[in-house]
Symmetry: C2
Subunit: 182 residues, 2 copies
């Protein structure tokens, strides 16, 4: 499974990142937005891989000009890398929000699914989904609330699943604890 959608330019050529490398980049991005430095060990823990695997990925990302990396040194994102990582993170956020806020699925499941799907759904889907969520959560809809109605629909219909629609935790503030191990 190789094709990915977000692209970056290297010496005038458009390149794409594998799902795996996108994961690494996103993990670095998330770590940096919290703790200032991204350590190999933390990246490994986040993604559920060994430290050795991280080293390989870092070399790869550095070679592609997306991170600043020197053995035994701190990892930071280049401007390119930051731009790309932001877009990946946005995809993640949109998907997570859809799974969690619209479908009302529990946090862990939403998080994991977002991690997986974020590498596979192209900009058309992500953009349209974004607009769909704006549509569904728009305030000017005379008291209607699709998410709430759907929750009621699920309850009344006696559908057999275990969402978190009743809890008021409406998204935001995710971490990558649920990144899937392979």
């Amino acid at each position: 499974m190789y094709l990915i959608f977000e692209t970056y330019m290297t010496s005038g050529k458009i390149e794409k990142l594998s799902a795996s490398l996108e994961d690494y980049l996103e993990a670095i991005f998330n770590l940096l937005s919290g703790k200032t430095v991204a350590r190999s060990k933390d990246i490994a823990e986040t993604l559920g891989v060994t430290r050795a695997s991280v080293t390989g990925a870092l070399r790869n990302l550095a070679q592609k000009g997306l991170i600043h990396y020197k053995p035994y040194g701190y990892v930071t994102l280049t401007e390119q890398g930051n731009r790309l990582a932001s877009r990946v993170a946005r995809r993640h956020a949109v998907l997570h929000s859809f799974f969690s806020d619209i479908l009302g699925l529990e946090e862990g499941i939403s998080q994991e699914a977002a991690c997986r799907a974020e590498h596979l759904l192209g900009p058309e889907i992500i953009n349209r989904l974004t607009v769909f969520m704006e549509f569904v959560t728009r305030p000017d809809t005379e008291g209607k609330d699709v998410a709430a109605e759907f929750e009621a629909f699920c309850r009344d219909g006696g559908q057999d699943f275990q969402g978190n629609h009743t809890s008021g935790t409406a998204g935001k503030g995710y971490n990558d604890e649920h990144k899937i191990k392979r």
Copy 2:
């Protein structure tokens, strides 16, 4: 990217199929529901791989007890294989319908995204999405139609994308022409 959700039993043990093998199984399933026989060449064309790759996958699926396969013979699904393939196809159909009928994305994009996502989204997501679509398309909603409203919302909001919401092709009858090449 390895973890997959649909499982099958072999000698009492629960097994999972890789995304790639699910693709092969689904392709066989679709071919069989049309033309009675599934030829190596057709599978290769459907999935955009070489015939040699198909042979390898067939051996693999046969060894897992999901297809009947003898070199130079016809390929058929075992009961197990058919069960599994149906579930994969259902996931595909649900996702495609969501992308196409709810989000109003064009056929090719919906098809391709469904192909990709069907291997990555677990039963919780697929089930909930199924219910969500029932919810959104239920008839008892006093003249409301979420898909149509969303279409209007997109048009009025001047959102810049190119859906097929105006065309009346509401799902069904898909093929795998848009399976992504890797």
